[in-house]
């Protein structure tokens, strides 16, 4: 029912808000229409400025606005919820040429780190089974806080400033989880083994003992006693930090 002409006019105005390039639109006030581009761009800019303060700290506001401008003019924002837009910005960055063009090898990792903080802070509540205090670290079933993500980075931007991180390319794992009482997000650096343990505790729902058996084969570990001592410290720390919530209620 909408005539092609009207559709075309509406699309042109929309495109103008995305790109800032003013086309010929019948009957518009050329001076005042500029506020639409300004308002739309400001909404997007403010949202992404809030989402990525560390990236802005490193690359500066001018450069970041330039990235936003490219992103918003070329990308078709799909989420109707603007607080999820930083996730689309991160995805866009991965497909862009920014890393090479601006020589910022750590950029994608840093964007991911900041986006994951938002994602974990806001993600829907997942239910965790009931817990009890009594249990054995190795043989009982441990209950994990389900509001978490583990991400893999190539540069340790969660540990070092980017210039230092840039020199340490490797495999890094970061656990981000949300405290169930306060809602605050915490980050923990994980070794490969730790990441493997947590992922298996979630996936397999086995006791630690059994998962350890698997990891011994996988990581060709020889000194099991030493491993167990180290794991014990790690698990207790996760309990203190409320990532492990307790033992499954019998």
């Amino acid at each position: 029912m909408l005539l092609p002409e009207t559709r075309h006019i509406q699309t042109k105005l929309g495109d103008y808000c995305k790109t800032g390039i003013l086309p010929d639109i019948p009957g518009i006030n050329k001076k005042h229409v500029k506020h639409y581009r300004r308002l739309v761009f400001n909404v997007v800019k403010n949202n992404l400025f809030q989402a990525f303060p560390i990236v802005i700290d490193v690359i500066g506001k001018v450069k970041f606005v330039q990235l936003i401008d490219e992103f918003f003019s070329r990308h078709h924002a799909q989420t109707s919820q603007i607080w999820k837009l930083p996730g689309e910005f991160y995805e866009y960055a991965k497909t862009s040429d920014w890393v090479e063009k601006y020589n910022m090898p750590w950029l994608i990792d840093l964007l991911l780190l900041e986006w994951i903080e938002i994602k974990v802070h806001t993600m829907p509540d997942r239910t965790a089974p009931e817990t009890q205090i009594q249990g054995d670290l190795f043989t009982s079933h441990l209950v994990i806080n389900p509001d978490f993500e583990i991400i893999k980075l190539s540069y340790p931007v969660h540990l070092d400033p980017v210039r230092a991180a840039e020199q340490k390319k490797g495999d890094y794992f970061v656990l981000a989880f949300r405290n169930r009482d306060t809602g605050a997000v915490r980050f923990l650096n994980l070794s490969v083994l730790h990441a493997f343990l947590i992922e298996n505790m979630v996936k397999e729902k086995h006791s630690l003992e059994k998962i350890l058996q698997n990891s011994i084969d996988r990581f060709s570990i020889e000194d099991i006693t030493q491993l167990k001592t180290a794991i014990k410290i790690f698990i207790k720390d996760l309990m203190d930090q409320r990532f492990i919530l307790g033992f499954l209620k019998q």
Binding site: N29, V33, Q81, M123
Partner: protein, 278 residues
């Protein structure tokens, strides 16, 4: 004194609203887009507030005036949200925010044309069928006409009447548009289907050019807008009135003054009438 005035549930003033000591709204309004799919800290705050106040919803992304198809999947989420929080009024904007398969996150002006009007009337009916309830559509501020073939008053009033939806009358937007497009606010109001008004918005604005006011939701309400509100409320039945404030929260006591002023005008004009909603 009966209370009619509610306030937007914004994160900056969430705690003050929950405490209810300085600001004392009679209900809260929220944009469902800002809360759907959300857990953690803010979900708790939302639930706390919703356990104290009645909730109304004012959507951002329906894009009823868009050439694009309606996002039925997202509307399903809105429907669930409205049910979960027992929302009495779900309102949206008579504008579009999606174009060329992209969300733009602001309210663009629709060409006031016959085909756009028919397109929107049809969409409103489908949305209302889907939700199983009437929606209320808001007259938005706009800063330029776009390929218009009829007046704003005709466009708005015919859409409300022909679709059978309710009207969210934003009194500040009437003031802003009357100034920007040089017409008389009161005669515009008289042309509106005032029996369909189910909800009112009041807000502040900012004049940024000699001939342009922007609807900012960041300033105090000015007296001429209160006057227009007084004029309007004399002609309509009692409805909930929302104070829209999106930022500039440094003086919260002032917000309560605005809520009280709105309540005073409502009480004066609606003294013997039954309060219809919320």
């Amino acid at each position: 004194m009966k209370k009619y005035a509610g306030i937007g549930f914004r994160r900056d003033i969430a705690n003050e609203i929950i405490q209810g000591e300085i600001v004392k709204p009679s209900f809260i309004e929220l944009a469902p887009e800002n809360w759907i799919d959300m857990g953690g800290y803010w979900k708790k705050k939302l639930n706390e507030a919703a356990s104290i106040y009645p909730v109304t919803c004012h959507g951002l992304s329906l894009s009823i005036g868009s050439p694009e198809d309606i996002d039925w999947e997202f509307l399903k989420k809105i429907k669930n949200f409205i049910d979960e929080y027992k929302v009495e009024v779900y309102s949206e904007h008579l504008s579009y925010t999606k174009s060329g398969n992209a969300h733009l996150y602001d309210l663009l002006p629709i060409p006031f044309r016959e085909d756009a009007l028919n397109h929107i009337v049809d969409r409103i009916k489908r949305v209302q069928d889907f939700l199983g309830r009437p929606i209320a559509l808001e007259n938005v501020s706009y800063y330029t006409p776009v390929a218009a073939e009829m007046s704003e008053a005709e466009f708005v009033s015919r859409i409300i009447t022909e679709s059978g939806c309710n009207m969210l009358l934003d009194v500040n937007n009437v003031y802003v548009n009357a100034f920007n497009h040089k017409y008389d606010a009161k005669s515009f109001l008289r042309k509106m289907p005032l029996d369909r008004v189910a909800y009112i918005h009041m807000a502040g604005h900012l004049q940024i050019e000699p001939d342009l006011i922007i609807d900012t939701h960041g300033e105090d309400i000015i007296d001429p807008v209160y006057d227009l509100f007084d004029f309007t409320t004399q002609m309509i039945k009692p409805v909930p009135v929302l104070l829209e404030r999106d930022y500039n929260f440094n003086d919260i006591e002032k917000l309560q003054v605005e809520l009280a002023t709105i309540d005073r005008i409502c009480s004066k004009n609606w003294i013997n009438q039954h309060h219809a909603v919320a």
